[in-house]
C-alpha cells in the first residue's frame, strides 16, 4: 500500500487533473452559453506546448520550474504513502517558493508583481491549511494520513468549520476567480498571466501538469475529510470532491475578481470564524 499508492498518484493524478480541467472548461462554457472545447482539450494544449520551440527568458527558470514540479509531485507521493500531513503542507509551501523564484528571475514587471502576489496568497492560505492539519490531529491524535483514513467515522462530522475554511482557501489554491491574483486562467487581468507571463513552451506545459498534480492533491485533502474505514466512504468522497469542484466552477463564474487586500481580509476572517470556532468547540468537548 505504501508503495502502490504513490505510484498510482504519480501516474493517475495528471490524468485526473487534466480531465477535471477539461470538464471545468466545458462546464464553464455551458454556464456562459458557449459550446466549449472538447473534454480532452487540456491534454492537446499540453501536447502542443511541448512541441513548441524552447525559448526561455533566463536559463535558471527551467531549473526552478522543474524543482517546483518535482517538489509538488513528491509532496503528493508522500501524502499518498501515508506519512505526516504537516510535513506535506510544509513541502507544499516550499514548492510555492520555487514558483515565486521562477517568476522573479525574469525582468518582466507583470511576472514580478505576480510573484509577490503568489507569496501573498501563500500567506492567505497558510493559517487554514495548518489549522486543518491541527484539527485532524486533535480529532484522531495523529498527523499520519494512513491513520486518518482508518477513522471510525468521517472527520467532517466533527470538523465542519475546518472543512468550510479549507473550501474557501481552495479557491485561492486552485487560482480561480475571485481569488486568481497571481495568475489566472483567462489572461484578462491587469497582470496579463502574472507568474506565468514569462513561461512558454515546455516550461508552461510543466506548470500546467504541476497544477493538475496540485489540484488533485488539494482535492485529496478534501476527500480526507470524508474517508473512514467503511469502503463505501470512498465513493462518497469521490462524490464530495466532484461537488466541491463544481462549486469552485460556479463561484468562478458568478463573481468578480477581488483585490489582494480583500482576499487577505476575507480568507483570514473565514479561517478564524469557521476553523477557529470549530477548534475551540473541539477542545472544549474533548
Amino acid at each position: 500500500m505504501r508503495i502502490l499508492m504513490p505510484i498510482l498518484f504519480l501516474l493517475l493524478a495528471p490524468l485526473a487533473g487534466g480531465l477535471l480541467d477539461g470538464m471545468d472548461r466545458k462546464i464553464s462554457a455551458r454556464m456562459q452559453r458557449r459550446v466549449g472545447p472538447p473534454i480532452l482539450q487540456p491534454f492537446y494544449d499540453v501536447q502542443k506546448l511541448f512541441a513548441k520551440q524552447r525559448i526561455v527568458v533566463t536559463n535558471s527558470q527551467t531549473f526552478l520550474m522543474i524543482t517546483y514540479m518535482v517538489l509538488i509531485i513528491f509532496t503528493g507521493c508522500m501524502f499518498y504513502s501515508g506519512v505526516d500531513m504537516l510535513m506535506c503542507f510544509f513541502m507544499l509551501s516550499t514548492a510555492g517558493i520555487f514558483l515565486y523564484f521562477s517568476a522573479v528571475v525574469t525582468d518582466s514587471p507583470y511576472s514580478y508583481i505576480g510573484g509577490q502576489r503568489e507569496l501573498f496568497q501563500e500567506m492567505c492560505c497558510e493559517p487554514a491549511v495548518l489549522l486543518t492539519a491541527l484539527g485532524f490531529y486533535i480529532l484522531e491524535g495523529s498527523f499520519q494520513t494512513s491513520d486518518l483514513i482508518k477513522a471510525d467515522r468521517s472527520a467532517i462530522l466533527a470538523l465542519p468549520g475546518f472543512f468550510v475554511a479549507f473550501l474557501f482557501i481552495l479557491t485561492i489554491k486552485m487560482r480561480k476567480s475571485p481569488f486568481d491574483e497571481s495568475t489566472s486562467h483567462h489572461p484578462h487581468q491587469e497582470l496579463v498571466k502574472g507568474v506565468t507571463t514569462e513561461l512558454g513552451g515546455s516550461n508552461l506545459a510543466l506548470f500546467q501538469i504541476t497544477e493538475w498534480y496540485e489540484n488533485v492533491l488539494m482535492l485529496s485533502v478534501v476527500a480526507l475529510f470524508i474517508l473512514n474505514k467503511n469502503p463505501w466512504s470512498i465513493l462518497c468522497a469521490v462524490l464530495v470532491v466532484l461537488a466541491t469542484y463544481f462549486l469552485e466552477i460556479l463561484i468562478d463564474n458568478t463573481s468578480a475578481r477581488m483585490k489582494s487586500q480583500k482576499m487577505l481580509q476575507l480568507s483570514w476572517a473565514v479561517t478564524i470564524a469557521a476553523a477557529g470556532v470549530n477548534l475551540v468547540i473541539l477542545i472544549l468537548v474533548r
Partner: protein, 364 residues
C-alpha cells in the same frame, strides 16, 4: 519617510494588453501596488481622416466620417451632416429627424451594452460579459434589419436619410426592445447589487464635480460625478420633441459610472419608443442640396461616450477646407489619468474602461 527611499517601479501598460479594448499606452509608476504617477501616451493608430476632407467631395465624406469609429459610427456621420447642413442652411424633413434619433439611440444602446461587457470582463466576471454581449446582439439585429449594416449604418446623407423604418420594422423594434429591457434589468441588478462587483466599483476612482469641470470631462463620465449636462437637451434632431432628463449620479466613482450608463440604456429604449410613437408619416426622407458649402459651422452632439464637437469650414468649392472632430474620449483622458493617481494597480483596467475609451476615434 523620504519618498525617494521607497522602491518605485515603472510598469508599461499597453498599447497591447489583454484588458485594454483599444491601444493606449500608460507608464505606471508604482510603489508596491500603489500607483503614484501615470504618463499616458496615445498615437498608435492615427489615420489622418480629418485631412481627407480636402480631397473628397463633401457628400462622399459622410462615409469617411462614419468610419472614424466602429461603435459610435452613426453619431459621427450625424455630427458631420448636421454641421454641413447648418453651413448650407438645409432644413431636413421631420421624419428624417426622427429616424436619425432612433438610430442614434440604437447606437447608444449598442455602445453602452458593449461597454458593460468590457467592464465585466475588466473585473473578471466572464458570465456577465457574455450576457451583456449577447444582449447587444439583439440590438445589432435591429440595426441590421433597418439599415443593412451592423456597425456602419451608412444611412445619413447631407439633407436627410437614405432608408425608412417601415411599420413592420417598428413592430419588431418594439418587440425586441421589450426583450432587451427585461434581460437588462437582471444585468442592472447584478451590476448594482452583487457583492463582488460592488467590492471592485464602490468608492474606486472618485472624481468630484469640480475636478470634472476643470479637466474638461464630458458625457456619462461627467454625469456620474453629478454634472447635469446632456447635449441632447439642446434639442437637435427630434430630441426637442421627446421627453427626457439627463441621467445623473453623484458618487463619481466606478459604481456611479456603471449605474449612469446602464440607466441610459433604459432611457434610450424609452426614447426610441417615444420617437416611434411620435414619428410623422411623411414620404420624403431627404431634401435636395444645391451648391457648395462656404463659411464655417460648429455643432455639438451627444455621443454615447459624451459631447462630441464637429467643426466644418467650407471655401465655396465642393471640397471642405477643414473638418474637425473632437471626440469625447479625447476630453476624458486627462480626467482618467487624474483618477489613477493613488489608486491600486488592480484598479487600473477598470479606470481605463470606465471612460469607455475609443482611441481610434480619438486619434482619427
Amino acid at each position: 519617510m523620504d519618498v525617494k527611499a521607497k522602491k518605485r517601479s515603472v510598469v508599461p501598460f499597453g498599447p497591447q494588453h489583454p484588458v485594454l479594448p483599444e491601444p493606449i499606452h500608460l507608464d505606471l509608476v508604482l510603489e508596491d501596488e500603489k500607483v503614484v504617477d501615470v504618463i499616458p501616451s496615445i498615437g498608435f493608430i492615427h489615420r489622418g481622416l480629418e485631412e481627407l476632407v480636402n480631397r473628397r467631395d463633401f457628400n462622399q465624406y459622410v462615409y469617411i466620417a462614419e468610419r472614424t469609429c466602429g461603435i459610435c459610427s452613426f453619431g459621427h456621420g450625424l455630427g458631420y451632416v448636421e454641421a454641413v447642413e447648418k453651413l448650407m442652411n438645409v432644413e431636413v424633413p421631420v421624419r428624417a429627424k426622427y429616424l436619425r434619433t432612433i438610430w442614434g439611440e440604437m447606437g447608444r444602446i449598442h455602445s453602452h451594452l458593449l461597454w458593460a461587457g468590457l467592464m465585466a470582463d475588466a473585473f473578471g466576471f466572464e458570465n456577465l460579459f457574455y450576457q451583456c454581449w449577447r444582449l447587444r446582439e439583439k440590438n445589432l439585429d435591429l440595426v441590421e434589419m433597418t439599415t443593412g449594416g451592423r456597425l456602419i449604418y451608412s444611412v445619413n446623407k447631407v439633407g436627410g436619410v437614405l432608408k425608412d423604418i417601415t411599420p413592420d420594422m417598428q413592430k419588431v423594434i418594439l418587440n425586441n426592445l421589450s426583450e432587451i429591457e427585461v434581460e437588462l434589468k437582471d444585468i442592472y441588478k447584478t451590476f448594482t447589487t452583487d457583492y463582488s462587483v460592488l467590492e471592485r466599483t464602490r468608492g474606486v476612482g472618485v472624481l468630484t464635480k469640480e475636478q470634472v469641470h476643470d479637466l474638461g470631462a464630458c458625457g456619462p463620465y461627467a454625469r456620474a460625478s453629478g454634472v447635469e449636462r446632456d447635449i441632447r437637451q439642446l434639442g437637435y434632431e427630434a430630441y426637442g420633441d421627446l421627453d427626457f432628463e439627463p441621467v445623473v449620479s453623484t458618487d463619481g466613482d466606478n459604481f456611479a459610472r456603471c449605474d449612469v450608463r446602464l440607466r441610459e440604456v433604459f432611457q434610450s429604449i424609452d426614447l426610441i419608443r417615444q420617437a416611434i410613437a411620435k414619428m410623422p408619416a411623411e414620404t420624403d426622407l431627404s431634401v435636395p442640396v444645391k451648391g457648395n458649402p462656404d463659411g464655417e459651422a460648429l455643432v455639438r452632439i451627444e455621443q454615447p461616450r459624451g459631447e462630441a464637437v464637429y467643426y466644418v469650414e467650407g471655401n465655396g468649392t465642393k471640397f471642405l477646407n477643414r473638418f474637425r472632430l473632437r471626440t469625447p474620449t479625447f476630453a476624458n483622458i486627462p480626467a482618467m489619468c487624474e483618477t489613477m493617481k493613488g489608486c491600486n494597480y488592480a484598479d487600473i483596467p477598470l479606470l481605463v474602461v470606465t471612460i469607455d475609451p475609443c482611441i481610434s476615434c480619438t486619434e482619427r
